[in-house]
Symmetry: C2
Subunit: 304 residues, 2 copies
């Protein structure tokens, strides 16, 4: 089954302890699409400015990402400039220029309205709500958000929570949204307001998936070299939702597998700048990494 | 098989967001013993002052902790006073009074010298080396350390590394010792200097075990209420070494189980002040928690 993603398509300029890259492909919609496209077909809705090097998205189109919902508007593209120091877990934003993204009103093409899996990447919750008015009976609606919206659009965000099945957010955002420092309590707080599934991402410390009384935990892959953490969260979401869409199976066992696919895709994303690594990985590499995750956490609880 | 532990036996005064406790049983030797005693017999070597309420250690003796190596010296006991704020991962030390501990010279009773498993809890590496001179052909020697010794006794610590099989330390200490920010590289750095096994504890973010090219990861148990984190690391070590000693089996599969027993015991320790929770848990509760860890991380990697 296909996935519809609505998110940002940006140009990033990033500096890490290992190098710098200027005006490379970025944005939540871009990372999500590059990741999920390894598992299923993807329909991307977003906006770029007249200055966007659209031809550089061709590798995504070749990977099965339908760009018919990518609008090109008059004006500047969304640009983000950031830096990571030694703590690769937190980015320092040096500059954000929204450009045409500030006027973005998502328009879902008719051909995309019945997509069974929908991912509302991190954009204004009012726009996320507008997307939901344009889709028809999706099997699963997932959303992401960030501190900026939790602060500035709390009421809209709470309304949106009542209309989604799943939310992904990081630990800091979960604590900020719920005012609960304990993540188990934070997840319960969120589930009481709508989403049946809550994924809390902890960066290099892995991710929790909550559903009812069930908790699943997957570590981050212990990479020796994290090159650029930008996009790890969206690549995680792409692997997770991509696997669910590929299989169409929302069972507990399959959702656990999906979290591991998410962790695997997140671990690839950080090995190079931008979506460079996501574009080059092979199905065999993905399979190997999933097996390595299994090897990393598996133990036999039977008492000797 | 038995475990010999050499460490501090202290009186702690602790304040957490949930309450405070004054002059309760504390110290690395105490937590380790209370934890490991659920799995095997323990021989404790340490020192207390003339003011120590030795009768309060009776529950440990009843649990099979041999206190014959616990010296009572003239003077004040080791006292630690600390506080945790909202970030339960890091303690703020308000006061440390070493008392008789500053003159401690470990004397291993003859009856303890052939103990097969030895845990050198967090004390001066020169004293840890003195212990090794007094034991005979142990099957496994494990050590802990802390930032203070890494700074002030680096040469002794490096010498000690060449004489131990296993080290447990937290992520910050591993980075400080090795000057490697990446934990995989830090573990390799340590293994090159002696220990075949490196356990890196990340508090609420779980623990890694490295051995050669193998990596195992266990999360911390997602507790809803962490009451007092004091002693979690030593309780982890007690569960880990206790399980290895109980089974006498150092295979990869059994070391993985041991890490989970360590994580389970650490998760109990933080549910109450001091060793209170460790003294009351039952074998059934430990077994249940180990199964819950299994449930928490298990996924089936077989592709549908």
């Amino acid at each position: 089954m296909s996935v519809l993603v609505v998110g940002s398509v940006a140009l990033d300029s990033v500096e890490t302890p290992f190098g710098k890259a200027d005006n490379v492909l970025g944005g939540s919609g871009t990372f999500f699409s590059a990741s999920a496209s390894h598992l299923t077909t993807v329909r991307l809705v977003g906006v770029v400015g007249s200055d966007y090097p659209v031809e550089r998205l061709q590798p995504l189109a070749h990977r099965g990402v339908d760009l018919a919902g990518l609008e090109q508007a008059e004006g500047e593209s969304f640009r983000w400039r950031g830096r990571y120091r030694h703590d690769l877990n937190s980015a320092e934003t040096l500059e954000t220029r929204l450009g045409v993204f500030s006027q973005f009103r998502p328009k879902i093409p008719d051909a995309f309205r019945q997509t069974p899996f929908v991912f509302l990447a991190n954009i204004d919750p009012r726009l996320q709500l507008q997307v939901l008015e344009q889709v028809e009976k999706p099997k699963l609606v997932a959303m992401d958000t960030m501190n900026f919206w939790i602060e500035s659009r709390r009421a809209d965000l709470l309304k949106l929570l009542g209309h989604v099945d799943l939310i992904t957010l990081n630990d800091g955002e979960a604590r900020q949204l719920t005012e609960q420092s304990n993540l188990v309590k934070a997840a319960r707080w969120i589930m009481e307001r709508g989403p049946a599934y809550v994924l809390i991402k902890k960066g290099e410390h892995g991710a929790f998936m909550f559903h009812g009384r069930s908790v699943f935990y997957a570590p981050a892959y212990p990479l020796e070299d994290v090159f650029d953490p930008t996009g790890a969260g969206d690549s995680f979401a792409g692997g997770f939702i991509g696997w669910l869409a590929r299989t169409g199976d929302l069972s507990e066992a399959n959702r656990r597998r999906a979290v591991v696919y998410g962790s695997a895709m997140g671990s690839f994303a950080v090995e190079k700048f931008s979506i460079d690594r996501l574009l080059e990985i092979t199905p065999a590499e993905i399979g190997t990494r999933v097996k390595e995750f299994h090897q990393l956490v598996t133990f036999d609880a039977v008492l000797p």
